[in-house]
């Protein structure tokens, strides 16, 4: 496997890509050309950055949104989105050898270094919620905009019921010593769990459920939120259990679930922590009820694990909600073809943006940042505000007004910086593969509806 390093995203490649991108920018949002004329006389340098885990165990995920963000910058340069000003891009890696992947301490160090550069106006990142916990306070203190393509932990932006659970223990208020400069273009687990509860109760028609979680912040948070919304929907939770990720057999708890008459099983957690094994053990216990999970379950490993037991097609009929399959959205088609053209020379899988769910999120996050900067320049007579801090504050203010049509569809942010573009697709294992069933959206009052 080729592990891209910071060097891959060099200035030289940006320049080369700029030519490529300039030939096919048909889908570049129209607002840019309107703004470009007024800011032709812009002076100075504006820097944007991305912060993703690029190496170690995260090398299969983080580079995709980083490449996508870089593509957005390349296209902006080709289109003179910043007029006469120079637009620079820095790629940061928050992985360390020590952690063999994302490292919150490295993330905080990266943001500290970027904030010290007065030309840096915003950062796309981070990828992992645990890194966000250490980066958000640094960004907030420095008034620096931070836009995540992939953080789903609800407690990063708002206090919800589960934040005080000992497994999660996030004090949201303490994350923001300065202004609230954090945004995300992906919906949080609050929306996901609302949709999960709706799916369990109204789609799968399970009125009693047994809930597993994997004792980790993501899984436990999702399970707690799920139980809250499921009960609100009228369902009855007959039992719940938190088991460590190393658990190898779930038959004891499944026997309990069986005896309590559960009509479905919910698993809050990741496949690596046992989602597929629960399905496997359901087969051994002869339980013919559905299993529902969150996005942590929707992967190939789930199918492998679920089918590893005596029943080799046990995975069939399992359900999981996950980020909408953006490759199916009409709005993303142009982006993915541009990505493929721009990065054709990269080794597989990095030459294909559809190989990772968050690629398009990285692209839209950077474009939203660039357009916010553009709108500040336009509003300031085509010039950057005199002080760096004012500039950064103005960028954050402009981000709040975002109304952007990109690869993901239409994005706006609510008061907490969360996207209002909330969709989750329900997937079902059919003939040994995850197949999208329906995409659901949830409105601010918690009503779930079919989106597509």
């Amino acid at each position: 496997m080729v592990k891209p390093t910071k060097g891959v995203l060099s200035i030289a490649s940006i320049a080369a890509l700029g030519v490529l991108a300039a030939c096919g920018t048909t889908s570049t949002p129209t607002s840019s050309s309107a703004g470009a004329t007024g800011i032709a006389g812009c002076h100075g340098t504006i820097t944007v950055a991305s912060d993703m885990p690029l190496t170690g165990g995260d090398a299969t995920d983080g580079p995709f949104p980083a490449y996508a963000a870089q593509l957005a910058v390349t296209q902006a340069n080709a289109n003179k989105l910043m007029g006469g000003c120079t637009l620079k891009y820095i790629s940061k890696d928050d992985s360390t050898v020590l952690k063999n992947g994302h490292d919150p301490a490295q993330g905080a160090a990266n943001i500290t270094a970027l904030a010290a550069d007065p030309t840096v106006m915003g950062v796309v990142g981070p990828f992992n919620s645990s890194v966000a916990l250490s980066e958000i306070p640094v960004a907030s203190r420095n008034h620096l905009a931070l836009i995540s393509p992939a953080n789903t932990n609800p407690c990063l932006t708002a206090v919800v019921a589960v934040c005080s659970d000992p497994t999660i223990a996030i004090n949201t208020a303490s994350l923001y010593p300065g202004p609230h400069t954090y945004f995300r273009v992906i919906a949080s687990d609050v929306q996901q769990s609302e949709i999960d509860a709706y799916v369990a109760y109204s789609v799968l028609k399970a009125h009693t459920i047994y809930v597993f979680d994997d004792q980790e912040a993501y899984g436990r948070g999702l399970a707690l939120l799920f139980m809250k919304y499921y009960k609100a929907d009228g369902g009855s939770v007959v039992g719940s259990v938190s088991l460590p990720g190393a658990t190898t057999t779930f038959s004891t708890q499944l026997s309990v679930a069986q005896s309590k008459g559960a009509q479905a099983i919910f698993f809050g957690g990741t496949t690596g922590n046992g989602c597929g094994l629960v399905r496997r053990d359901m087969g051994s216990a002869g339980m013919n009820i559905p299993l529902l999970g969150g996005d942590g379950c929707e992967d190939q490993l789930f199918i492998t694990n679920a089918n590893s037991g005596a029943k080799t097609s046990e995975a069939n009929g399992s359900y999981a909600t996950s980020a909408p399959d953006v490759t199916k959205l009409a709005s993303s088609a142009t982006f993915f073809s541009q990505y493929a053209a721009a990065y054709a020379s990269l080794p597989a899988p990095y030459n294909n943006g559809t190989k990772e769910p968050y690629t398009a999120y990285g692209y839209d996050a950077m474009n939203i940042l660039l357009h916010a900067i553009n709108s500040v320049l336009v509003g300031n007579g085509g010039q950057p505000p005199s002080s760096s801090q004012t500039f950064r504050d103005d960028v954050v203010a402009a981000l709040r007004q975002t109304s952007y049509d990109g690869a993901l569809g239409h994005t706006t942010f609510d008061a907490n910086g969360d996207t209002t573009n909330t969709g989750f697709t329900l997937y079902k294992v059919t003939n040994g593969a995850w197949v999208g069933v329906n995409t659901y959206a949830v409105d601010t009052s918690g009503n779930v509806s079919v989106k597509s």
Partner: protein, 386 residues
């Protein structure tokens, strides 16, 4: 001339002199603390001392009562079906713990080393079994007919066990032999190092995720149903094979020349030498057999669960070690029974008070054993040697 203070009051059937004979370790230094031996309890009031000795002497009975109570509690909670299902779950789990625990106890018995790498030998054996089954196309053989299944089992068990046995011997030869006369801490730390090394190699070779063994489909179907509890052929296979192996081991250690050499080496290495016993070979053989049993457990695990992962042996190993301590470290029968008891505690504890507490419960039991009954349930009579 013998002090029978170590004879457990509640040890289930047949723990007379013969049980002691299968014990590999001198537990003289592990005897229940008497009042003058324990400064802490000795210092407290006589009531505490009385309570301590009461618990210490009746530890087995108390534990058994606790298990019976929790089984009854499960019955109240979910009826006979839940109770039956959980007993089945506990026996399947306990069988695997028991086989792994025997490896710990044999090695401790003969060289007084907690072989931390033993759990990892279990994991490695799981991968050996996958390799053997895939190379020899046993999966299609085993699912073709009943005769094919027997043939596949007759191939995969001995080959995995031999491979694991040789691995165990190699570990002893490379890592422990030179340290045999070193202070105890040195081989213990080496054992932890070997464990990390094996896990690291497996992580790199096999990846971080569960690997499908492909053996879960070898045996399936329901053998019979008691009430609403369906007992599968796999369940019978797991428990039956484990019991068979344990009895075979018992007979081996009790009756054969090598078995007697192992027992005598465990009891007195110098005397064994004077009898002309080759100590190195005997210790090698002990590692071979202990590791082979771990391999048998791994094959059973592969067939029952269908997944192995680079680090599954770690937790399983520690729980199995607790089973060995519960039974009386060094005591083979104790390890077998301890494995099943730990299976019961794990499952019924998990069923009653929530699975999150299962492992905490196991280690709480470990602490209680070490406090009240360091020789374990089946500990041997502490013999005064003149």
């Amino acid at each position: 001339m013998s002090d029978q203070s170590g004879t457990p009051g509640a040890a289930p059937g047949g723990t007379g002199g013969r049980t002691g004979a299968v014990t590999l370790v001198d537990q003289g230094n592990l005897g229940p603390r008497t009042s003058e031996g324990s400064s802490f309890f000795g210092a407290v009031t006589p009531i505490f001392r009385f309570l301590y000795s009461l618990i210490s002497k009746n530890f087995g009975a108390l534990l058994l009562a606790l298990i019976v109570l929790s089984i009854f509690g499960t019955f109240l909670q979910g009826g006979a079906t839940l109770m039956g299902n959980q007993i089945k779950n506990a026996l399947v789990l306990g069988a695997i713990y028991a086989l792994v625990a025997i490896g710990y106890t044999m090695v401790y018995g003969i060289i007084e080393l907690i072989n931390f790498a033993h759990g990892d030998v279990f994991t490695v054996s799981g991968f050996y079994a996958i390799f053997i089954a895939n190379t020899l196309h046993l999966n299609s053989l085993a699912t073709s007919s009943f005769g094919g299944l027997l043939l596949a089992l007759a191939i995969v068990f001995p080959l995995s066990m031999i491979a694991a046995g040789l691995t165990g011997m190699a570990i002893e030869f490379v890592a422990y032999r030179r340290l045999r006369d070193a202070p105890r801490l040195a081989p213990l730390i080496t054992a932890i190092g070997v464990s990390f090394l094996i896990e690291g190699v497996m992580l790199v070779r096999e990846g971080p995720d569960y690997v499908t063994t492909g053996q879960a489909s070898w045996i399936n179907g329901t053998a019979f149903t008691i009430g609403k509890v369906a007992v599968g052929y796999t369940d019978l296979f797991v428990v039956g094979t484990a019991l068979l192996l344990m009895f075979a081991l018992g007979a081996f250690v009790q009756r054969t020349r090598l078995g007697k050499a192992m027992r005598s080496t465990a009891q007195d290495r110098t005397a064994a030498l004077l009898c002309g016993i080759d100590i190195n070979r005997t210790i090698s053989a002990t590692f071979f057999i202990g590791s082979a049993l771990a391999a048998a457990a791994a094959v059973i695990y592969s067939i029952n669960y269908g997944d192995v992962k680079w680090n599954i042996g770690f937790r399983l190993g520690i729980i199995a070690f607790t089973a060995a301590v519960l039974g009386g470290i060094g005591n083979i029968v104790g390890a077998g029974v301890g494995g099943f008891l730990i299976g019961l505690i794990y499952v019924f504890g998990g069923s009653l008070i929530g699975g999150a507490w299962s492992e905490a419960l196991i280690f709480a039991i470990l602490v209680l054993i070490l406090t009240f009954r360091p020789v374990g349930l089946f500990g041997v009579e502490v013999t005064t040697r003149a």
